[in-house]
């Protein structure tokens, strides 16, 4: 596939890794805040090609992992409501709420539909005017344009039976929270390439400056990741802390302005609780007042949600990079991919699941 396979070349990977090895003279900890990047790193074994000086810390970049427990519980309650067609991306189906997950709700008779695009949920609402169709709209900024367009179209078409349960999270406030948290070890960030393709890169220079950390916008293929890491290590070695764009074929400084306009129309910023981390100010988007009629949180007043997180789960510390999964007492015992206590064990890019699946073999590299 063009614009994909070229960035998986073994020879280029080897050369980039060698170059990183050549320039790294001291230990550095680099965090990526994007579940897609975490997934690619683990899936391709990118971290194993790095010299021992360079450590990758997997940050809270997986919307599955950070969606607040309360939102999951609300989703489960709505999905269990008779007559509702509940639509979701595949990633969310196994995430544990306080009691059960969407799969278990399906087992008890809930009509849960897996969709590839939010527009598929809108189509379902058109096809079933007699049913309430609810879409679980989660994600970082990358998914916001799609989710925004879905509800915008629904409103335009007067689809009264369509509503969304929204829980968007934002990267720049997360970076800030990470840098402010005690015990933080992060020296530099790889910025999420596709988030930046939507939002642009203009939000990051102030962060690089304020916290004196290099921030390099990076893609997802192994070569893109290695190149992003290379440029980051170079900055660190040279004592620079700038915003750099290593994914220029897709990312521009201004980003996708039509998308940003629709986002601004449909969503409004607010404080958001990140599962395992706590409330990060102004770190989330919810539906704007103009879209109240399509807000599932308002339409379905599911009361009495008391989110009960497992007291054993330390996902929060893992997400912030202050605890490695195999340092958690529950790791591999009460908490396994089959019996996950928290989202980081459920998600395919959750750090805990990744460690577990590799854990029985020697953990090579700096992981």
């Amino acid at each position: 596939m063009k614009h994909l396979t070229e960035y998986r070349d073994a020879d280029t990977a080897r050369r980039l890794a060698a170059e990183i090895g050549r320039i790294a003279t001291r230990p550095w900890a680099i965090m990526e805040v994007c579940g897609g990047q975490t997934h690619s790193i683990i899936r391709n074994g990118v971290d194993q090609l790095l010299p021992p000086e360079v450590e990758l810390i997997h940050g809270p970049g997986c919307p599955v992992c950070v969606t607040p427990l309360e939102t999951i519980d609300r989703a489960l309650a709505i999905a269990a409501t008779p007559g509702v067609i509940f639509c979701s991306f595949g990633d969310m189906l196994r995430v544990p709420g306080s009691r059960g997950n969407l799969f278990s709700v399906k087992g008890l008779g809930g009509d849960i539909r897996l969709v590839y695009s939010p527009l598929d949920a809108v189509k379902l609402a058109q096809a079933h005017p007699d049913r309430e169709v609810v879409f679980l709209a989660i994600g970082f900024e990358t998914t916001a344009p799609a989710n925004a367009m879905a509800v915008k179209l629904a409103k335009q078409q007067g689809l009264k039976n369509f509503s969304m349960l929204v829980s968007h999270v934002l990267v720049p406030p997360a970076i800030e929270a990470i840098m402010r948290s005690p015990g933080n070890r992060v020296n530099a960030f790889l910025a999420a390439g596709h988030v930046c393709s939507v939002m642009g890169t203009w939000q990051y220079p102030p962060l690089a400056e304020r916290f004196r950390v290099p921030i390099v916008v990076t893609g997802f293929e192994p070569i893109d990741l290695l190149e992003g890491i290379r440029r980051t290590v170079l900055q660190l070695e040279q004592g620079r802390h700038e915003l750099e764009n290593a994914y220029a074929r897709v990312v521009s400084e201004r980003g996708n302005e039509p998308a940003q306009r629709v986002i601004a129309e449909v969503f409004t910023a607010g404080d958001r609780a990140w599962r395992g981390i706590g409330v990060i100010p102004a770190s989330g988007w919810r539906l704007a007042d103009a879209y109240r009629d399509h807000d599932a949180e308002i339409r379905f007043a599911v009361g009495g949600i008391t989110a009960v997180e497992s007291s054993l789960c330390k996902a929060g510390e893992v997400l912030q990079g202050t605890l490695k999964p195999n340092q958690c007492p529950a790791f591999g015992k009460e908490c396994t991919p089959r019996t996950p206590l928290g989202a980081t064990m459920v998600s395919s890019e959750g750090a805990c699941a990744a460690y577990y699946n590799a854990g029985r073999w020697s953990d090579s590299g700096a992981a």
Binding site: T12, C34, G36, A248, V262
Partner: protein, 91 residues
């Protein structure tokens, strides 16, 4: 987030006021919403996330990036040569 895959635009149409296109990903064709890329044209490459095209791929930039990797290879080779020469020259 962020699973977005590159494909090229095969055709564009209007559907109830929304710009839609057929995008070809390595032989697999899917309907994609092009509303966020008003200037995208047939034949252009784009990356698509959950059924929406969110960015056009800048071919020139892509070529430039790939070129830097080539240059890296040349640099490495010449560095190795240098080291080889130094070793041969002796202390």
């Amino acid at each position: 987030m962020c699973l977005a895959v590159p494909g090229f635009v095969e055709s564009i149409r209007e559907e109830s006021g929304t710009r839609m296109g057929r995008v070809n990903f390595g032989g697999v064709v899917k309907d994609v919403c092009l509303a966020y890329l008003p200037e995208i044209a047939v034949g252009d490459y784009t990356i698509v996330h959950v059924g929406f095209a969110i960015s056009k791929i800048d071919e020139a930039s892509a070529l430039a990036t790939l070129q830097t990797f080539e240059d890296l290879g040349l640099l490495e080779e010449s560095l190795e040569e240098l080291r080889g020469d130094e070793a041969a020259a002796g202390p």
